[in-house]
């Protein structure tokens, strides 16, 4: 393993980590609720669409940083 030359910005890293953990936790909860909604309704299509949209958006925004694309000079 290479030694770290640059000191690690612990605070920044902690904040980013927290953001990811919260995102994942929300995703997990949504997935479970989605599942129970699906098995308890006769025709769950409409009820499930918001879950899909929300989960998709969380992945795009939290995990994939989609907003970078729209920032000029980006990254």
């Amino acid at each position: 393993m290479t030694t770290e030359l640059v000191p690690i910005d612990r605070d920044g890293m902690r904040a980013a980590t927290r953001k990811g953990l919260i995102g994942a936790a929300v995703l997990a909860v949504l997935t479970i609720i989605e599942y129970f909604v699906a098995i308890s309704l006769e025709n769950p299509l409409l009820a499930l669409l918001p879950f899909v949209a929300l989960k998709g958006w969380i992945i795009l925004d939290v995990f994939m940083h989609v907003r970078q694309v729209f920032k000029e000079g980006g990254h």
């Binding site: 690690i8 990811g20 997935t31 699906a38 499930l48 992945i59 795009l60 994939m64 980006g74």
Partner: protein
């Protein structure tokens, strides 16, 4: 005698556009992949609507969803680590992602094995099922291969907080694989 250097006929364009081009290019690639999945999803809805057989293995599918989500989180952690130059964690998290990806693939294998008897590819649901799962599994496999290269380079200490675009691109691709599953899973199991 003096020698003069011939005037240069070439210049090298300022390359500062490249990171932005990479980012936009990657996103366009992801958008284009979305259309590919979209075509298959459209085929599923057109030919069978939301109909699905009773025998679906719901528990396994839910587990797989959670595993894939966890692998996505691990990939996110890897990206965060390398962004802050924490190379050791980067390697650990990438390995975690790969392991969970492999577990996911194994689960899909079990699923397909059951499916081939319950709803074989010649039936309306079976056609869509095998196509969508197959397309997704194909992306999982390519994603895993790419992650393998990233792990290899990570072990060699190739990435650092100033230069990790290769890893970042592959990780975004892996999140996309998760994103696709967010739609495919309810399409095949829940709706």
């Amino acid at each position: 005698m003096t020698t003069t250097k011939p005037p240069s006929t070439e210049y090298h364009q300022d390359m500062s556009f490249q990171p932005r081009a990479n980012l936009i290019g990657l996103w366009l690639f992801i958008v284009s992949e979305t259309f590919l999945f979209g075509a298959f999803l459209a085929a599923r809805y057109y030919s069978t609507g939301t109909a699905k057989p009773e025998e679906l293995n719901q528990n396994l599918a839910l587990m797989l969803t959670i595993v894939l989500l966890a692998s996505s989180l691990s990939a996110y952690m890897a990206e965060t680590s390398i962004r802050f130059n924490h190379r050791r964690n980067f390697v650990i998290y990438i390995s975690g992602t790969i392991i969970m990806g492999l577990i996911f693939l194994g689960g899909v294998g079990i699923e397909l094995k059951e499916a081939i008897h319950l709803y074989p590819p010649g039936t309306p649901y079976g056609s869509s099922y095998f196509m969508l799962i197959g397309l997704h599994a194909f992306h999982v496999v390519t994603g895993l291969i790419a992650l393998g290269f990233v792990l290899f380079l990570g072990l060699k200490g190739h990435y650092g907080s100033d230069d990790y675009w290769g890893a970042e691109g592959v990780i975004k691709y892996w999140h996309f694989v998760d994103l696709a599953w967010v739609i495919i899973y309810p399409t095949l199991y829940l709706f």
